[in-house]
């Protein structure tokens, strides 16, 4: 019985490690898992020597749960050199096109599934049916600052460039993304209503969907070149994580068209946000 319990608990430990390993970047995963598996062997060996097996197995479980933190750290800090962003989101047109296709699919399924009829029926009974959805959007916008910074970064405006047009284009792009995200989340959650309502989590799912979508829009906007609106690439770490005093520590991104560099601090503060550095045309030969 005790042996069976030990086997069950070690299986659970390995399952936790396997699950955490999914968070680790692919090229690091095998070595990461080998290390944690080996370390777990020592933890379990220590457990077997003890008298209170259940207590010591809890120790092994606690050890394995720490793997998630390690995996997340690796995911966040081990950026692949020369990594390229997703092709269908790279340029502003590709991004808008992709969102438009997803929105069209979500709306199509909304009109060709039972969701639309359900909504119309509910609207007839309760004309104020739409208000909960509007309320969800307002609540999601209120929650948003807790999940990500609302600032879009500092962009210096050179006097000889059409800065106003550039800023206007950025805001238009942001507005279009928000406009396309709304039908995706609204119709998407209604399309999935039969599944979500079965779990009783539909209102929460809609709210979480809005928050995640709005967060993605802001994060995506901050990772784009302010000139050409393409996603920035080639992340390079600068500074040392364990020596944060008196030194800047963060990541530098590059516009593949050579428009400039973006410096993103690891720990954003009120006095240190992400900064854009324009490169003058003399750098052009490096990027052609």
């Amino acid at each position: 019985m005790i042996i069976r319990r030990w086997v069950d608990s070690s299986c659970l430990d390995y399952a936790i490690l396997r699950l955490a390993a999914l968070l680790v970047p692919r090229r690091e995963r095998q070595e990461w898992f080998a290390e944690w598996k080996a370390e777990l062997w020592y933890v379990l060996r220590g457990c077997n020597g003890g008298a209170h097996t259940s207590c010591l197995n809890r120790e092994a479980l606690r050890f394995c749960l720490g793997a998630f933190r390690d995996a997340l750290w690796l995911r966040r800090n081990c950026s692949t050199p020369n990594s390229r962003p997703l092709l269908w989101l790279q340029s502003p047109l590709q991004c808008i096109g992709f969102l438009a296709v997803v929105a069209a699919v979500a709306v199509f399924f909304f009109f060709h599934s039972g969701a639309r009829d359900t909504i119309l029926a509910a609207e007839l009974v309760h004309p104020e049916f739409i208000f909960p959805y509007l309320l969800m959007i307002v609540i999601a916008l209120a929650i948003l600052p807790a999940t990500t910074s609302l600032g879009l970064g500092e962009y210096p405006t050179p006097p000889d460039s059409p800065a106003r047009a550039r800023r206007f284009r950025r805001w238009i792009f942001l507005g279009i993304k928000f406009a396309l995200i709304l039908p995706i989340v609204s119709c998407g959650t209604l399309d999935l209503a039969p599944i979500l309502s079965a779990t009783g989590l539909q209102p929460q799912a809609i709210l979480v969907g809005y928050v995640l979508a709005f967060r993605w829009v802001l994060v995506d906007q901050r990772r784009r070149c302010p000139v050409c609106l393409r996603l920035l690439t080639n992340p390079a770490r600068i500074g040392q994580a364990s020596q944060t005093f008196l030194e800047w520590y963060g990541t530098e991104f590059l516009c593949v068209k050579g428009h400039g560099l973006l410096h993103v601090p690891e720990i954003p503060t009120t006095y240190s946000t992400q900064r854009w550095l324009d490169l003058d045309p003399s750098w052009g030969s490096l990027f052609s």
Partner: protein
């Protein structure tokens, strides 16, 4: 005047533990009393900063001991320099993490 890099107390404890002969992650955990979710990311950060380096044990050695191969950690030269500076900054460090007695 050269700027002296400063480590957090946790990072200094881990460096001290490695210096004292705790050469793999679980060993560092046992010595420092820190949880796995703190020790392993700190080890990776210290390695990324060039203060420690890691090396996998040879499979034949592990097979002879009938155990999985360990990933060993070792202080680099700059790690040793930083540890000395940290020992001055945190005088109780040597008492908190004393050399391992096998």
């Amino acid at each position: 005047m050269a700027i002296e890099p400063k480590l957090s107390h946790t990072a200094a404890m881990i460096l001290q533990a490695i210096h004292c002969g705790c050469v793999y992650g679980y060993n560092v955990m046992e010595t420092t009393g820190l949880p796995s979710g703190t020790v392993y990311p700190a080890l990776r950060r210290l390695e990324q900063d060039g203060l420690i380096r890691s090396q996998w044990e040879r499979q034949s050695v592990a097979d002879a001991g009938q155990r999985p191969p360990r990933k060993y950690y070792k202080l680099t030269r700059s790690g040793r320099v930083i540890l000395e500076a940290s020992q001055k900054r945190y005088p109780l460090l040597a008492k908190l993490v004393s050399p391992e007695v096998e």
